[in-house]
């Protein structure tokens, strides 16, 4: 290229960006991105993702040449990225294969195992057994180091089990699949939990008591000290903040924290690790401990603390992000925060590649990355506003940038995010940070001096009660942002966030144009993704372990058909995700007793005036706010003619197509074009449907269990089925 050409190129590049390059070279970011992409591609393409390596290597090489312009080094680095991509693919494939190799069980099994974890839900104690010996009904037996999660109903603590107990029990073991309801069962795979069972408290036979591991022992000690020295609510809150286990908290209070967008204080992460690291650092400085001693001591304490918290992805990420700058500083190196969060992500994914699909990891990484990428720029912008003090602008920028990057993940995982989150995080987090530092220090002291625990924990208990008082008094489910989802458009959202950072050196006008165009594209894509365009009628089918909910939208009306007893959590999440606050009619295909239970569950999340029940059910009109209609023959759900065929089946004529919704097997179902039923059965053969959709596992058939929520549309004589958003 001649001088003129070079000069033209230089003018062009300087018109696009300021400085030496558009994007700074960040090696660890690219390496962890390569590894994560390998895992991601393996999920979608299987082991065939390795073919992408052939595409990735030249692309990576060209990108790096563009950035670095040093041929040999760039090619070498590209090979490293390529290697990590391959490693990501292979490690994920191996992890999944290892999980699937553990035998699936059917029927009643006798199980011998060691209690490794003790937890609690609202209604049950939960014991996780490991080191299993399983004898199946068929006589087959095997040993595995995978685990079973046992739910014990009844009074708390009735089961004679604690961490380290070796016990035998008999139960029907249900096997977790790698994927269910369209999602990877990341918590089961990461926790190596292959089975679950429901057992009565008196059905355990204790063989011996073994010692528990040190992390369980410390966790147990902390719990013991807290629950013996504080009132139950404060103890549960403290235990959740210190260990990340919120199972002892009242579900209503915990849900209110979630509605307020501040439940992240119960996921041990940067907030907690940073405070502990700060306390330890201050202590070491006060005691004049040399850096070559204080650094390993702080690292050991933080890693140990992460172990007490079960090595959760958020705590691991935070520990690595804390240690990397400390190590860099000890070696006299500068540490770029983006590189340090990338190293943290890489370390977590190397430990278990399935973490990529864990919502805890996604939120933790998104929040940290958001603060690092957006926080600085935003803080500088807000600092120019005169009436905002610097500390407020800094806090505001941190909270807002974390919100921006976690927004699509929260919406997709939980169906909502809090409109009050920014305000509550600004007001609450500084307070809770101070309370946490007092709580941590005094709890550590109380564990060492248990006889003084009541006195030591008085102050933190008092401070905690004051701090959470507004959360206990005010309900935060009033300003929830919900009713849509992002799906794959999350990538566009994150790209938009990245364009707004100072990590890309675009000229302001170009940056503005790029952001504007991307906003437009994102808006259009979101509209098409979320609105059911082009169908005369739409039915979405949602299932979750026996809770089968169908939403029929025709002629501007929305009707709910529940095939079986709806689960409250499932109903809440679905209604938030779909933005449903009212329904035009409800049908529950279940026994009258279950309908009686289901109606208040539904009413607590959406209003409706009319409940349709079969005339043969003899269901009493017992609700004050709901009209119970028991039609004989055909009736109308909006524009759709419908007719009960038995107690647990419904025939609908949707745009001329016959559809049967069956909650269980029953005789004499009519012929139809579309069948919606729990699972394949000979009982449904009389329907002779052109298309069958099942709620539960149905090998070789279309089911919500394998594909996730489904959307069925009617248009021009065609019924089409695809994944729901």
């Amino acid at each position: 290229m001649g001088e003129k050409g070079e000069s033209r190129l230089r003018r062009l590049t300087h018109a696009i960006y300021a400085g030496d390059r558009m994007v700074n070279f960040r090696p660890f970011f690219l390496l962890s991105l390569g590894f994560g992409l390998g895992i991601f591609c393996c999920f979608f393409l299987g082991i065939g993702a390795l073919w992408l390596d052939l595409l990735l290597l030249p692309v990576a090489a060209c990108t790096l040449l563009f950035l670095k312009r040093k041929c040999a080094a760039a090619l070498l680095f590209a090979c490293l990225v390529f290697a990590l991509f391959t490693l990501g693919t292979l490690s994920f494939a191996m992890r999944i294969a290892a999980f699937e190799r553990v035998p699936a069980t059917e029927g009643n099994c006798a199980v011998r195992g060691v209690v490794e974890e003790v937890g609690r839900t609202e209604e049950t104690d939960v014991f996780t057994f490991g080191s299993l010996t399983v004898v199946c009904e068929s006589g087959e037996h095997f040993e595995t180091d995978y685990r079973v999660q046992v739910f014990v109903y009844g009074e708390t603590g009735a089961a004679p089990l604690s961490a380290g107990t070796v016990a035998v029990f008999e139960a029907e073991m249900q096997t977790y699949d790698v994927c269910s309801y369209g999602r990877l069962n990341s918590s089961a795979v990461i926790g190596r939990i292959r089975y679950r069972a429901f057992v009565g408290a008196e059905e355990f036979y204790v063989i011996e008591e073994r010692g528990e591991d040190i992390f369980s022992a410390v966790r147990g000690r902390v719990g013991e000290v807290l629950f013996q020295s504080m009132d139950e609510e404060s103890a549960a809150l403290s235990y959740a903040m210190l260990t990340g286990n919120s199972g002892f908290m009242e579900e209503e209070l915990l849900q209110n924290f979630r509605y307020g967008g501040i439940a992240h204080i119960f996921a041990v992460s940067g907030l907690h690790i940073g405070i502990i690291a700060g306390l330890l650092y201050a202590l070491c400085k006060k005691l004049r401990v040399r850096p070559y001693i204080s650094l390993p001591v702080i690292a050991a304490v933080l890693i140990f603390y992460s172990g007490v918290c079960g090595f959760s992805p958020s705590s691991l990420r935070a520990v690595v992000m804390c240690l990397v700058p400390m190590l860099a500083s000890a070696f006299g190196k500068n540490c770029d925060r983006l590189n340090s969060v990338s190293v943290a992500a890489l370390v977590v994914l190397l430990i278990d590649p399935v973490f990529l699909f864990s919502i805890g990891f996604q939120l933790s990484l998104a929040a940290a990355a958001g603060i690092i990428l957006l926080g600085g720029n935003l803080s500088r912008l807000l600092a120019r506003v005169r009436f905002i003090p610097k500390k407020i602008s800094s806090a505001l920028s941190v909270a807002f940038s974390a919100q921006m990057c976690t927004f699509p993940f929260l919406i997709d995982a939980f169906g909502y995010t809090s409109g009050l989150s920014l305000l509550l995080n600004l007001l609450f987090i500084p307070v809770i940070s101070a309370v946490f530092s007092v709580l941590f220090a005094f709890t550590a002291a109380a564990c060492v001096f248990p006889s003084a625990a009541v006195w030591l924990l008085y102050l933190p208990s008092y401070l905690l009660r004051i701090a959470v008082l507004p959360i206990t008094l005010v309900e935060f489910d009033v300003l929830l942002i919900c009713g849509f989802s992002f799906g794959g458009l999350t990538a566009l959202w994150l790209l938009l966030c990245w364009l707004m950072t100072d990590k890309i050196n675009l000229r302001p006008v170009l940056r503005g144009c790029a952001c504007g165009i991307l906003c437009g594209v994102l808006t259009v894509c979101m509209v098409f993704y979320n609105l059911p365009v082009g169908c005369d009628a739409v039915m979405t089918v949602h299932s979750y372990y026996g809770s089968n909910l169908l939403l029929l939208r025709v002629g501007g009306e929305t009707h709910l058909i529940a095939a079986g007893m709806p689960d409250e959590k499932h109903v809440e999440t679905l209604f938030l995700k779909e933005g449903i606050r009212s329904l035009d009619g409800v049908i529950v295909l279940a026994a009258p007793r279950d309908i009686n239970t289901a109606v208040p569950v539904l009413l607590s999340h959406a209003s409706f005036d009319t409940l349709y029940v079969p005339a043969s059910a003899g269901f009493p009109d017992a609700f004050q706010t709901v009209d119970v209609v028991a039609p004989h023959g055909f009736f109308y759900l909006g524009e759709t003619p419908a007719c009960f065929t038995g107690e647990n089946a419904l025939y609908l004529n949707i745009c001329g197509a016959g559809a049967v919704v069956a909650a269980d097997e029953q005789a004499e179902l009519p012929r139809c074009d579309l069948l919606l039923a729990p699972a394949p059965s000979d009982a449904f053969s009389a329907c002779a449907p052109s298309l069958s959709v099942y709620f539960e596992k149905a090998e070789g058939n279309l089911s919500v269990y394998s594909a996730g929520d489904l959307q069925i549309g009617w248009k021009n004589g065609i019924i089409s089925v695809k994944r729901a958003r």
């Binding site: 055909f634 025939y651 745009c655 001329g656 074009d673 298309l691 594909a707 019924i719 089925v721 695809k722």
Partner: protein, 79 residues
């Protein structure tokens, strides 16, 4: 290892027809198979009669008088 994610896209055609049994004061009583959104006017024209009192000729067929018989949806109209 097979992919864990699979796309879903299925389509089936359907007839969208309804059986109507017309009896009473019509020229051609009997069973007719008509499209789902057939109006009363079109139906009575097939049956060889003026639109009977109480039926709006422009209104699509209503199903209050329908039954499921032999697995098929049949609308009974007695003029």
């Amino acid at each position: 290892m097979e992919p864990l994610w699979s796309g879903v896209s299925e389509e089936v055609e359907y007839g969208g027809e309804v059986d109507v049994l017309v009896q009473g004061a019509v020229a051609f009583p009997g069973r007719y198979t008509v499209p789902y959104n057939c109006t009363y006017g079109e139906l009575f024209a097939l049956a060889g009669a003026e639109c009977a009192a109480g039926y709006d000729p422009d209104e699509p067929l209503r199903f209050e008088d329908a039954v499921l018989s032999g697995g098929r949806l049949i609308v009974y109209i007695v003029v």
